[in-house]
Amino acid sequence: MARTLSVCPFCGCGCNFYIITKGERVVGVEPSPGNPVNRGMLCAKGWNSYEFIHSPDRLTMPLVRKGGELTETAWDEALDIVSGRLNDIKKEHGPDSLAFLASAKVTNEENYIFMKMARAAFGTNNVDHCARL
């Protein structure tokens, strides 16, 4: 069993816990006793926060709509389609015909380069997220 320090994925409290793993499987969480936010405690959501990680519903392959259906596709092809279509649309309709929604659930680093991509790579300030909701 291994323990890895993490931050609860749910509300804005930011409780710290250790993810308990057995090989590649998460088997539980254990609240950080020293962290001043939660001091060894968690709520019902926090204690159970790991279960969805191994849900059979997780997406495991890129999907591309082909003939109306979302179809499993290799990464290379999916990424080329994303960048190709975004750049074609930008060329034809200008950068402000594109928009980007960042996430209140991913890391700071990911949000930072997401907005950097929107602004530096595609040239638009059409960047927002769902914090209002």
Partner: protein, 540 residues
Amino acid sequence: MAGLAAAFGSGAMTNSIAEVEEAELFFITGTNTTAQHPLIGTRIINAKERGAKIILADPRKIQLADYADIHLRHNIGTDVALLNGIMNIIIEEDIYDREYVEERTENFDQLKAVVSRYTPRVVEQITGVRASDLEEAARAYATTKKAMLLYAMGITQHATGTDNVKTCANLAMLTGHVGRPSTGVNPLRGQNNVQGACDMGGLPNVFSGYQQVANEEVRKKFERAWGVENLDGKVGLTITKMMAAAQKGDLKALYIMGENPMLSDPDSSHIELALSNLDFLVVQDIFMSETARLADVVLPATSFAEKSGTYTNTERKVQIAHKAIDPPGSARDDWEIICEVSERSGYPMNYNSTRDILKEINELTPSYAGITYERLVKGYGLQWPCLTDEHPGTPYLHKDKFTKGLGSFLPCDFKPVSEVPDEEYDFLLTTGRVYYHFHTGTMTRRISILDREAPEPLVEINPDDARRLGIQNNDVVELISRRGSIKAKAEVTDRVPKRVVFSTFHFHEAPVNLLTNPVFDPISGIPEYKGCAVRVRRCA
């Protein structure tokens, strides 16, 4: 956020979670804290057990009502009138902090002129709150030294949300309750990295650290660092404007990372029309959400357990999380996917890890300059602003002066909800969450224990109304608004006042946002989730 930024110069929670336990009084409004921020809720209850007072202003009888010394059950959407009424009493009885007002604030005369119209009698008529309760609350809040004001989306999710926030800020400044420990104006954030998404510039008007895109010097700095020319200085579209532009055909492509606007946005049938009208929709997520189903390309991302990086909690504290396991199948970290798309679009980013990215954030974001990887792995996080490697971080803001200098009183007048009940739609629907679920339920509904406790959507209805309509517990009822209808089981409870029904947005089977009214606060762009007119019908 916009309201607080205008008043104080910063839109974040002014104080810290740890300070909650030291507070002597709480003014809690529009936050069901024990359900939504349980570890903050626990601290409030601990403080109460040690003698702290609780003033709760909430139309619903939430769990904290059991602990409250005073429960002001004002009518939905009458927050400005309620708070103005409290200030009216505080000024009238001369128990405001005169020295603080003179030294640290501006526009007091304007505030005084506006709130003078909100006498206890006028306020009682608008809000339904008895004058004597209002007076008791006003005196207690004004005369307690460590008085902490907490709020969340019950304040912001109104067409007048910015006015509501400004009015909370007015009240706290009037009584000198900003700039000391265990005081302040504290918006509680609902998702684990909302604060970080804002801090990192996931907004149409700012780069990271709220550096304005309209400021040429700021743009020059980012142009140099990023190796590009001509960054756009024009403010971009908010999410609600994006949806409108998509529907009109002006917006052609949307790239959504880890969000589910199909369930979380108001008037969802219009959202579906907007998203379907795009030429190209990319959704990057861990599950096939209602939004991902509409996409042209779906990219599988990693969950929190499969990646390393930092998150910023509601008290501005940046904390680090480490990767515990490998992702399922060929799912990849969001940051790696973004780097790939960017590189293929002719703008390579060249990061090897999130640690590299954090270093760049430190270099370009003054409030995050001292929040380095090396310091984060050693301690329990750092609160911004943290300006240098030696800076200890900032547990509470606006200590000797406000971020913007003088704090500004920004008085507002009461405006009713946009859609007032009438004969046809005779109830007000207000929406929220339950303890066991999170947001649109994509994660918590896949957790067996949580789903066991709250397996299905419920509509709360007052016993008086239920009797009149022949509705009993667990009867299926239909809620009908001008925009759509949903069916769910009734829970007959006096948690809701008469002529009000409550439901949540966790359940795709009864998507409450089919009903909600897409009117928005003109400044923050937040929709009015907390009040729209509906009709209630018992299904045979």
